[in-house]
Amino acid sequence: MIMAYELVIGLETHVELNTESKIFCSCGGHSSPKEPNDCVCPACSGMPGMLPVMNKRVVELAATAGLMLNCEINRYTTFDKKNYYYPDLPCAYQITQLNHPICVNGLVKVKTAAGERDIRIKQIHMEEDAGKLVHGGNSSFVDFNRTSVPLIEIVTQPDFRSPEEVVTYLGKLKSMFKSTGISECEEGAMRCDVNISVREEGSEKFGVRTEIKNMASFEAIDRAIRYEAQRHMDALEFGTEELVQETRRFDDVSGKTFAMRNKETEADYRYFPDPNLMPIVIDDEWLEEIKANKPVALDEKAEAYAEAGISDKEIAMLMSEHTVAKLLDDVIALGCNAKDAAAWILTDCAGILRKAGLKLKDLSITAEGLSYLIKKVDEGKLNRGAAKKTLIAVIENGADPIAYCEEQGFTKEIDSSMIEAVIDKAIESNPQAVSDYKAGKEKALMAIFGACMKELKGSGDPGQIRTMLIEKLKN
């Protein structure tokens, strides 16, 4: 009989932080340079005589990520050197955190069809990225653009029980970091090592663990876990092979995992404290500052949005771009209704952007500009058509919304006597439509209404005009 098995998975996730400069030098950070070795200095290319100098922003972003994942922030945090030789590692050591990582003991809730599960975060540590090897012809080339780009590594306890939970967790991290600007989470900016073992359901003891290294896409992670889990279960159930604790890599083409050379797993990295970097002490004042500047976490934000009546789909869209989420927050802060504001951004603006071949993240309107339009429409001082015209001018030509509305006369104050005059004139010049309407053809109203709107050049509240027109026609 086939046993019931349980998957046990732990994750180590590397996330590239969105900083202006690298972690230990002043070279540009995440912004992708065009040419290899464009973004390199003597420090991040491992020249002698250079010393690492800590980028304070990295500490703040790492601590912020920790706060979002409900971690404790270590007030005393230190760096260690990890030694290994590889041509993409210019100093032959990586500066990372072993003994005193910046964040510990966090918790993330992961909700799947199987229910909600608590995933404990063991620690988050800061470290520098390595460079990149490019192979061509008979030679290999080294590109140091990425060396010393700041990363955080988020290590969970072995709390996942399915690939769905893993993918949900990663999606949550991604939208959390992206929506708050902690990481751009671009292609390859989030990489995962997956630790996986299988045990009989109900067993307390862990099975033999294997680690699948360095995967960048959620889809690959999902497939790799499914393959590896099956391999473990086959081994346990049918004795197809003997499981050993080892490091494996996932081959995207065959969909299989392969053992990596043992050299890799048996390496002694000879960690020791980096004497060039003084311990970082995060005092109360600094921690309070970090807390005060912490963007609202996704969970809290999503909850507030949902309460305001914004749909899950819309929330997901808003969260996918931190600039858009911030725009919405700012517009709400300026006194606009959350649901309306979301609709303006995700329907009106998004539609114009799409037509212009742009993406949501290209939306350049200021919160002041957008809230101005929303409020004017709400107050009936600007009609939607005019507002849309304004948005087009803003998005396509970079116009200033307030100035544009005034220029076009959209917001001219109009009193009801003016409207009445316009309506009278429209009735007079459209006798056919008037008689059709009076004969019961409701559609004929549009012709008269259109004539009014044309005369008013888009100013005035369409609802009010329509009501007044209908009243007049009753006579």
Binding site: P42, S45, G46, M47, P48, G49, M50, L51, P52, V53, M54, K81, N83, Y85, P87, P90, C91, A92, Y93, S140, V142, D268, R270, Y271, F272, P273, P275, N276, L277, M278
Partner: protein, 396 residues
């Protein structure tokens, strides 16, 4: 004696050890592995000197990465059998061709060289002089210091180079320091450590005794005391020094700059052959020792224990300085050394470093002059310079 690995400006007043970077001129730390290496920037200390109107004369020979006794094992400057060993920078300062020289004190080589050439060398308090641009080996204890003919010259140059540098994360906050050579030291108290004196030969002992007599004649109180931790401190420093050096020189792999073996078929051979050819026997010994003390199985018993010894030594020295202003010690066990086989170097340097290790281990200032060493608590350089000046005056 060949002083220079590279001459920059024949009329320059300051020579710079080749473990210190000078922009666009060869900076090789006496090692084959850095052959042809020209840095893109100068060390902060060099920059500060140039900004203050001092020209750099050139790069003085050093033993590979400053790991040897006084500079005897440079790839670019070989000593003949039986030749008396001298440090290039120290001899150059003694010759009077330059006003002063910069050196990196990492395991005592600069201090020993100063003692053997009878010039002054100050290893300042850790963190007071930027290490930016020092070809680093043992970051936690190496310090850039100054050779000069006397205390006043050393003080003048120190004033220029010391002070906070944002490019060095271990640099202390003070933007400048004053070095007074005329501080009142009439009532100072100095101790001589018996255990260290016993390790020196009669010549060296006699020199210490005469130095002490001169101090006493000026009213300074000198006492002999017993102190049992200098050997342990030295062992701890050798462990840390080897570990950090092993790590710091691992970047010299033949991939990016410096020497690359012509004989390789793959990346592993490129590494192994370049490094085998590029490092001398002493550096290799340090690398092996250093990677051993950092290995998983030895870390707790060696590296971590050395860190703990460092803390204990700091406490013990603090206690000592509550009673004394300075400790007077030999710098080397002998007053002359002849060229020897590099295979003996590791042990020889280890043994000799018992006199010099404590200041490296816990960042204290140490001044060598008239062939002896004075060690004080942190930031007490002025006292050391002033004590030394009393003895210099006597010699005039």
């Amino acid at each position: 004696m060949k002083y220079y690995a590279e001459i920059i400006n024949e009329k320059g007043a300051i020579a710079v050890d080749d473990t210190i970077l000078t922009k666009d001129t060869l900076s090789t730390a006496g090692s084959h592995i850095l052959e042809g290496y020209k840095p893109l920037f100068s060390a902060e200390a060099v920059e500060r000197l140039e900004k203050n109107g001092f020209n750099i004369s050139g790069k003085t020979h050093v033993g590979e990465f400053g790991l040897d006794l006084v500079g005897e094992f440079s790839y670019y400057n070989k000593f003949e059998d039986g030749e008396t060993l001298k440090g290039a920078a120290a001899e150059l300062v003694k010759s009077g061709d330059v006003k002063a020289a910069l050196g990196v004190d990492m395991n005592g080589a600069t201090r020993r060289a100063a003692a053997l050439s009878n010039v002054a060398f100050l290893k300042p308090t850790y963190g007071t002089v930027s290490r930016y641009g020092v070809i680093s080996c043992a970051a936690s204890g190496e310090q850039l210091g100054v050779y000069g003919k006397d205390a006043d010259t050393v003080a003048e140059i120190m004033t220029v180079i010391a002070g906070n540098d944002k490019k060095d994360g271990t640099s202390l906050f003070e933007s400048s320091y004053t070095y007074d050579t005329n501080a009142d030291v009439k009532n100072a108290k100095v101790c001589i450590v018996k255990e260290l004196l016993d390790k020196a030969d009669d010549d060296v002992k006699a020199n210490i005794v005469s130095y002490a007599e001169t101090l006493k004649a000026q009213g300074v109180e000198v006492e002999e005391i017993s102190c049992d931790f200098f050997e342990a401190a030295n062992t701890a420093w050798q462990i840390l020094m080897c570990a950090e050096t092993c790590n710091n020189v691992s970047r010299y792999d033949g991939v990016k700059y410096g020497h690359r073996s012509e004989n390789y078929r793959n990346i592993d051979e490129l590494y192994v052959n370049s490094r085998t050819e590029g490092f001398n026997f002493l550096t290799k010994a340090v690398i092996l020792y250093g990677s051993d003390v950092l290995s998983k199985t030895r870390y707790n018993d060696c590296y971590d224990k050395a860190l703990r010894v460092r803390r204990v030594v700091a406490e013990k020295m603090k206690e000592l300085f509550s009673k004394y202003d300075a400790v007077l010690t030999p710098v080397c066990s002998k007053s002359e050394y002849k060229a020897y086989d590099i295979k003996d170097a590791f042990t020889k340097v280890f043994e000799e470093s018992v006199f010099t290790a404590v200041p490296n281990l816990i960042g204290l200032p140490a001044l060598v002059s008239c062939g002896v060493q004075l060690i004080s608590k942190q930031f007490d350089e002025s006292k050391l310079l002033s004590l030394s000046k009393i003895v210099e005056r006597k010699g005039e």
